[in-house]
């Protein structure tokens, strides 16, 4: 399942890239994600909790930055995890590209997500919507944090952002943001190349 989206941000491309190529920041922006251990070499142990109504899954695994090109401002993050209750595995490869646009940056995110197990085996396209929304939230949050302009968010010390799973309260806030609505609009145009 390929999820593509992009967003513009009022910040210098290099600063945006510096932010996004750091796994800590990505984790901090990703709903329900948390890095739990630094394994060195841009590799981290972490977990992602998904909650959609009564449906929950908690993936633990390893995330690593597998490619980074500061000149082209391209970074590829790969995360592989498995559900704590043996319900399946999840694998995501996210390619981020930051390009300069007048007045700021444009970020394109291309996420190839593969989920196995029970969650992936329900024919009604809920997981596609859920995945799309999670990536959408990541984008929203990243934009927010970058535009807040606190370089500190990129520092490892700030990793301890409490992981909050995708759930009602978090969503309510984002739903109200006009930007988020536009983003969802774009997301829905995403083709499910699964």
């Amino acid at each position: 399942m390929l999820i593509e989206n992009s967003f513009d941000v009022d910040a210098d491309p290099d600063r945006v890239f510096a932010f996004l190529q750091d796994a800590h920041n990505v984790a901090a922006c990703f709903p329900g994600a948390e890095l739990t251990e630094d394994l060195g070499d841009d590799s981290y142990r972490g977990k992602v909790k998904i909650k959609v109504g009564p449906v929950t899954a908690a993936y633990t695994g390893v995330a690593e930055v597998v490619e980074r090109d500061a000149v082209k401002r391209v970074a590829v993050l790969r995360a592989i995890g498995k559900d704590a209750k043996g319900a399946g595995t999840a694998k995501a490869t996210a390619m981020m590209r930051v390009t300069a646009i007048p007045g700021g940056s444009s970020v394109s995110l291309s996420t190839d997500l593969t989920i196995s197990g029970k969650l992936a085996q329900f024919g009604r396209g809920i997981m596609a919507d859920v995945s799309g929304r999670m990536v959408g939230e990541l984008a929203t949050k990243a934009r927010e944090l970058i535009e807040e302009g606190e370089p500190g968010v990129a520092a490892p010390a700030a990793v301890a952002v409490e992981a909050s799973p995708l759930k009602a309260t978090g969503l309510l806030r984002t739903v109200l943001s006009g930007f988020f609505k536009r983003l969802i609009g774009r997301l829905r145009k995403t083709r499910q190349a699964g």
Binding site: V52, G53, K118, R124, D129, A168
Partner: protein, 293 residues
């Protein structure tokens, strides 16, 4: 397919139920009819440490109230019970029409109206119907009571504004004026299946047959029941049938962006929404004409 371990609670008083929810919060789940939750527990897709069964909360939650201005459906009113209620059929015919298409009688015998709403499956019939009825949702917790409009209640697949410690106590609808006509149309592959798309529609018509108010919501084409405001705008202010079907269908198609799944492509679902909107409006017009005949 046996549910995982949980602790079962069967409070006898609402206060007790709310205390349990406050205590267990995210680790608890309310069990009403159980016709959506139990399959998920059996599949072990849903996990819960504490199951708060509200079925023993007492009679007053099991009876709909048809008051002068408002119709109220409390938490334990079964779908089948309301489907068979003559009074409900008279005052909220669109709800009765939709209820007949919810799964099968054996499911509706236990399934509750509020349970289906709180479960918030966007492909289900009731969320779209209560959306066009502009229902008010009453949420209660140990912290207090609040009301939420239908437009604000649904957030995403299986996700509503209900906080972990809240119960959907009841849903209420203003008693419809006599000039209100409504329809529910859905298309499912097989009887009782989730619809590929569904449409609930409602119009209020003045003495000249001009639509003064129109609310349309689509099911199964978005992560929430989706109001079709552009179509509503097209319909409002003219007589039914005056706006061309193709114009309405185009507007409806443009307004929804469904997801492709194994059952149907997004393109099909968009087309189908247009078709069903028109069929619902034709149905409404027929009812309106019959009323004035």
């Amino acid at each position: 397919m046996k549910p995982g371990r949980f602790t079962y609670h069967a409070p006898r008083e609402l206060g007790e139920a709310l205390e349990l929810l406050q205590e267990f919060g995210d680790d608890a789940k309310v069990l009403a009819g159980g016709q959506s939750l139990m399959p998920m527990l059996n599949f072990r897709l849903a996990r819960v440490d504490h199951l708060i069964d509200i079925n023993r909360l007492g009679g007053h939650l099991g009876e709909p109230r048809f008051d002068a201005g408002t119709i109220t459906i409390p938490a334990l009113v079964r779908q089948r019970q309301l489907e068979r209620s003559e009074e409900a059929a008279r005052v909220l015919p669109v709800l009765t029409e939709a209820l007949r298409q919810v799964a099968h009688p054996q499911i509706r015998n236990r399934g509750t109206i509020c349970g289906s709403l709180a479960h918030a499956d966007p492909a289900a019939e009731l969320p779209s119907v209560l959306s066009v009825l502009d229902a008010t949702f009453t949420l209660v917790s140990a912290r207090g009571t609040r009301t939420v409009a239908a437009a604000d209640f649904f957030l995403f697949h299986l996700t509503t504004v209900l906080e972990p410690d809240e119960i959907l106590l009841e849903v209420s609808v203003r008693r419809p004026p006599p000039n209100q006509f409504s329809a529910f149309q859905e298309f499912a592959t097989r009887r009782g299946d989730f619809a590929l798309a569904g449409v609930a529609a409602l119009c209020e018509v003045d003495g000249d047959g001009v639509v003064t108010e129109c609310r349309i919501a689509a099911a199964g084409v978005a992560p929430v029941p989706q109001r079709l405001h552009a179509v509503e705008g097209l319909v409002t202010g003219s007589r039914l049938g005056e706006t061309s079907a193709s114009e309405i269908a185009d507007a409806a198609r443009a307004e929804v962006e469904p997801t492709t799944d194994i059952h149907a492509s997004a393109t099909y679902r968009s087309r189908l929404t247009g078709v069903l909107v028109n069929r619902a409006l034709v149905d409404i017009r027929t009812k309106q004409e019959a009323a004035h005949a």
